[in-house]
Symmetry: C2
Subunit: 277 residues, 2 copies
């Protein structure tokens, strides 16, 4: 989808025959998916609306049961903090979601119940590809082994990254993720630890940078010339990490591309677009 996601589009009017999609999170007001998907529905002429649904963690199971009972609700997008728990609640989980242990989209199965999958990492990789940054055969430093980091690690492995080093403020978490990736993708032996070799791509997958006073997730001065600096943070659009990288003359890649590229993937999963090869 790329730039298209922010193109002009008029949402479909909501009437009695409108099909529903929901994005579940807590909080939810910050979610961009409703605006993006509703413009997409308008462009495609699909009589559907994607609505924001705030459900507290303690209410997730009952909330999902209620959404399941809505016969005209066709799909669910999942955001923080529900992605890991939803993997346990879904009726079936596709391989990528199983590897990551978290999901961010659910669609109805023909036999009933929900099939869940995880598109965060694939959206990340597709966002890079959409800006001309292939990952196959390259090396990456991944900072952050939490939910976003896990999804990205498995997607980088799926996309053929040649070398992957994982760092986390909790070192055992980085080691554990490296092991899980190695188990799932035997062609790749990720390394983990505080010190890292030079890499083609340096990725922040921590929340550091959302607040102005956050410390930087990685030392831009220590990166090799030409390193592509990538941030998963969407707000602010230009984090201090990206600003410092630019000041050093390094190429950068902002968080929004991850979401923009995911729209196509999830729309394909929902059957709204032909799935991408």
């Amino acid at each position: 989808m790329g730039e298209d996601a922010d193109g002009v589009g008029v949402a479909m009017p909501v009437d009695g025959a409108t099909r529903l999609y929901a994005i579940i999170g807590c909080p939810i007001a910050q979610a961009r998916s409703p605006a993006v998907f509703n413009r997409l529905f308008g462009r495609l002429g699909v009589p559907a609306v994607l609505v924001p649904v705030e459900i507290a963690p303690a209410d997730l199971a009952i909330g999902l049961a209620g959404l399941t009972a809505i016969a005209n609700l066709d799909g669910i997008i999942v955001t923080v903090p529900h992605k890991p728990r939803m993997a346990a609640l879904a009726d079936a989980v596709a391989p990528m979601g199983q590897r990551v242990g978290a999901v961010n989209a659910l669609r109805r199965r023909p036999q009933g119940g929900w099939l869940a999958d995880m598109f965060d990492g694939r959206g990340f990789v597709a966002g890079l590809a959409g800006r001309g940054h292939a990952v196959a055969g390259r090396s990456a430093l991944l900072v952050g082994a939490g939910g976003a980091g896990s999804a990205i690690a498995f997607a980088l492995a799926e996309a053929g990254i040649a070398r992957l080093h994982i760092r986390d403020i909790a070192p055992e978490r980085a080691v554990a993720l490296a092991r899980r990736v190695a188990d799932a993708c035997p062609h790749l032996r990720p390394t983990a630890g505080p010190q890292a070799e030079p890499a083609d791509i340096a990725i922040n997958a921590t929340p550091l940078g959302m607040a102005a006073e956050d410390p930087l997730p990685l030392d831009v001065q220590a990166l090799a010339p030409g390193t592509l600096v990538v941030d998963v943070i969407m707000k602010p659009a230009r984090t201090r990490l990206l600003a410092q990288a630019e000041a050093r003359g390094l190429p950068t890649h902002a968080g929004r591309h991850m979401l923009d590229a995911q729209v196509d993937a999830i729309a394909g999963f929902f059957g709204l677009l032909p799935p991408r090869s």
Copy 2:
């Protein structure tokens, strides 16, 4: 609301911060409330959307529990076949809803849970008033003692109708409704039975007329000159009953006014408009 409900209006775009309202029914595709309320939200500048929610009768309790868990969902409209059952599921029911034994709107209580009330009958009376047909001091023949008929009977009583005769294809149902109205509104002694005195207003509150081959719910030829003939059926807009009444030169009043007038009442109940006196 009157004509306003069909006036031009542009719905608000749905984004992450949008508040939700739902109309629950089975089926739901025919519901006019989403289009009407979404135009209203647009005119008022309220960042909200009302979405159609199809829930099968067997799933109503779990569906309501799920909707309750949605923190940004502020109100629910209820349509066929859920109105009686929802009166039992709501945490509190206002007096009109208690009398009718059915509800069609729920809002959050400050202490949590749902307060439910019934606006079908009040919308019907307000729709008449909006077209210049006051009911206070008048007489009415009400055909149909089911859900719509019950709501209308209690609202006519509340609005000061002087005489009310109730007729139903199941005579005991008409008798039972007449008794319930008399119990709740001691100033009125409704009568019931197949034969009726002349009345100022003759009302069809049965489903007869939705299908072209339906028999007429009442004999237009038997009505006194000047009788106002009212239909609750919204589709078709001009039922065979109304067409025959017009052909006989009788004044008529179509089903859509009942819904149009309810929009204001329910919007007031939701706190979106100042309540009407």
